[in-house]
Amino acid sequence: MTEPLLSVRGLTVEFPTRRGVLTAVNNVSFDIMPGEVLGVVGESGAGKSMTGSAIIGLIERPGRIAAGEIRLQGERIDGISPSAMRTVRGRRIGMIFQDPLTSLNPLYRISDQIVETIRTHLPISLAEARRRAIGLLDDVGIPDAERRIDDYPHQFSGGMRQRVVIALALCAEPDLVIADEPTTALDVSVQAQIIDVMKRICADRGAAIMLITHDMGVIAETANRVAVLYAGRVVEIGPVRDVIKDARHPYSVGLMGAIPKLGGDAERLTQIPGSMPRLSAIPQGCAFNPRCERVFDRCRVERPEPIAVAPQREVACWLYDEPRSDGRAHA
């Protein structure tokens, strides 16, 4: 098996506040293989963006990485010097934010922003950088790129701007792109196009994607594997097909909107009742226990860690802790 491109181990992100320390990301571990698309889903506040920010070293103070390791091609990239981190950002890990309307500097031409980024990372001439920028804009589907490149951001529509953002994230040819809800702010009609463009252009360049989204549909169509986050933890991770067909964690089961296969009675779960606890009020034991239909005593006391349930699959739920890990025992 090849070495992972990105390897996150025990990542914990904390926010010290007056009322105590809040843990936004709690002991999160996962790998991303070269060229792979890892989907990351979870409710609002689950810690998806925070995980992405931690990887690229952009957690805003007072937040901080309190524990864990982040390795890119085997090298630690957490806690390295700011100048070393700058050679990672943009060059080895590209980032796409949610809102293309605010991601681009309104006072700079598109050409300036792309050329500046390319020349920060690659030792090439201005003319060459410009040529590349035009090629890239062409690739992401900006019509008449040669002429449009000297326009300002406000002269593009939202969808076109997000294409520009994708071009910017990829212009120094990173190995990994972290896309944090890249289509949430866009018109429904262009969302699929943007995802397609991003997926195609990363595939062409062999770049892996960490795709953060609320939309299981997008993940189903795009990702190879999926990590489900709940209250700052990975509750389930595995190949997309398997997780969709056969979700194990009660939360993922609800998320997939599927008929629970674990329980004997086939009761439809369209939506999980209740809402995710606030960080300041995460219950003892399993964070999901107040909403879980299958909760039992142990869940209220001990916190479950990810347990391997099948090749490449882990679930953080006590239902799977026994040798007879069919989960039926406690149903």
């Binding site: 605010t102 991601s103 500097n105 309104p106």
Partner: protein
């Protein structure tokens, strides 16, 4: 863009007309122009003749039109006190005021932007705390106190710099400059600093607030995520966006620098328009006062126009969408 400029020009003309009305009312009704011009011993009949000759018996509207016509040609009558044309008086004093205003605006702008950027980037450091505290003092102390303190320290105690006047001046055509001689340059330092301090602290606080705001935006975060250097982010992306609002305020401040120059010019006995105004007020030399009012209004209007045009130069969003978005 052209439409916008034309609209602004029209607005400017309206503003000037309004100020002219005030100046006219002052000119015409504060004191009696004839009584101020002639001695008390002149007989009533003679005064009446003068009144007629000067058109003071014409309908008020006609008088106002004439006032404007004259003002457009730069004629504001004769100073009661100095018996010289007001326009000549103002022109002879103008270079001193303009040099002082530009010197202090330059200090305020450079110092204000530099300190604003510094305190925004070094958020929470000791130096920032000290500068912010000092700036509070700068805003709250009256100008004349600062001027007197500077005179006391640098002129009286240390004896480094002159405490009054312009020093030696050189004639460049009608423009008399103090910027070409050593004594002239030394003389402008203290008044320029005094006049600049208030604007400097204002600009500094504005730049700092704007810069902190801009640093929180997504496009700065995205610039960081692309691995750009701190220098490119702070002084390219962030500062440029910060300057958009700073331009307006600074432009308007330049206007008030000229207006505020009254106090500084008085403290430093600087022979500019401001001190001319003060002495004119003391003897109710109404033509000079009216002309000064028009002059200050004109300065503000012109600066406003320039600021609008600068906006276009800096912010591309206004340029393309034209007049509609420029509103």
């Amino acid at each position: 863009m052209l439409a916008l400029i034309i609209r602004r020009l029209a607005q400017s003309v309206l503003v000037m007309l309004f100020v002219a009305l005030i100046a006219f009312v002052m000119f015409r009704y504060v004191g009696d122009p004839i009584a101020s011009m002639v001695g008390v011993e002149t007989r009533i009949a003679e005064q009446e003749i003068m009144r007629d000759r000067l058109g003071l018996n014409d309908p008020v509207f006609m008088q106002f039109l004439r006032f404007i016509g004259n003002a457009v040609q730069g004629q504001f009558g004769i100073s009661y006190r100095l018996q010289q044309p007001v326009s000549e008086l103002i022109m002879s004093r103008l270079p001193a005021t303009i040099e002082l205003a530009f010197a202090s605006a330059t200090i305020a702008l450079i110092g204000g932007v530099a300190l604003g950027v510094f305190t925004a980037l070094r958020q929470g450091s000791f130096a920032t705390g000290a500068i912010m505290a000092a700036s509070l003092v700068g805003v709250s102390l009256p100008t004349f106190l600062i001027g007197i303190a500077l005179i006391y320290i640098f002129a009286v105690e240390l004896g480094w710099l002159p405490s009054f006047g312009r020093g030696q001046v050189v004639e460049l055509g009608w423009w008399r400059t103090g910027l070409l001689t050593e004594s002239g340059l030394r003389s402008i330092i203290l008044p320029a600093i005094t006049l600049s301090l208030f604007q400097l602290t204002l600009i500094m606080r504005l730049v700092r607030a704007e810069m902190l705001e801009v640093m929180r935006t997504e496009y700065i975060r995205f610039a960081r995520a692309r691995g750009l250097s701190d220098k490119a982010i702070n002084f390219g992306h962030a500062l440029r966006n910060t300057l958009v609002p700073v331009i307006t305020i600074t432009g308007l401040q330049l206007g008030s620098v000229i207006a505020f120059a009254i106090v500084t010019e008085t403290v430093f006995q600087w022979p500019g328009v401001g001190s001319l105004f003060i002495t004119s007020v003391q003897v109710v030399d109404v033509p000079v006062m009216a002309a000064y009012l028009m002059f200050i209004a004109f300065v503000f209007v012109v600066i406003n126009l320039i600021v609008d045009i600068l906006y276009f130069a800096v912010d591309p969003r206004l340029r393309v969408d034209g007049g509609a978005a420029g509103k």
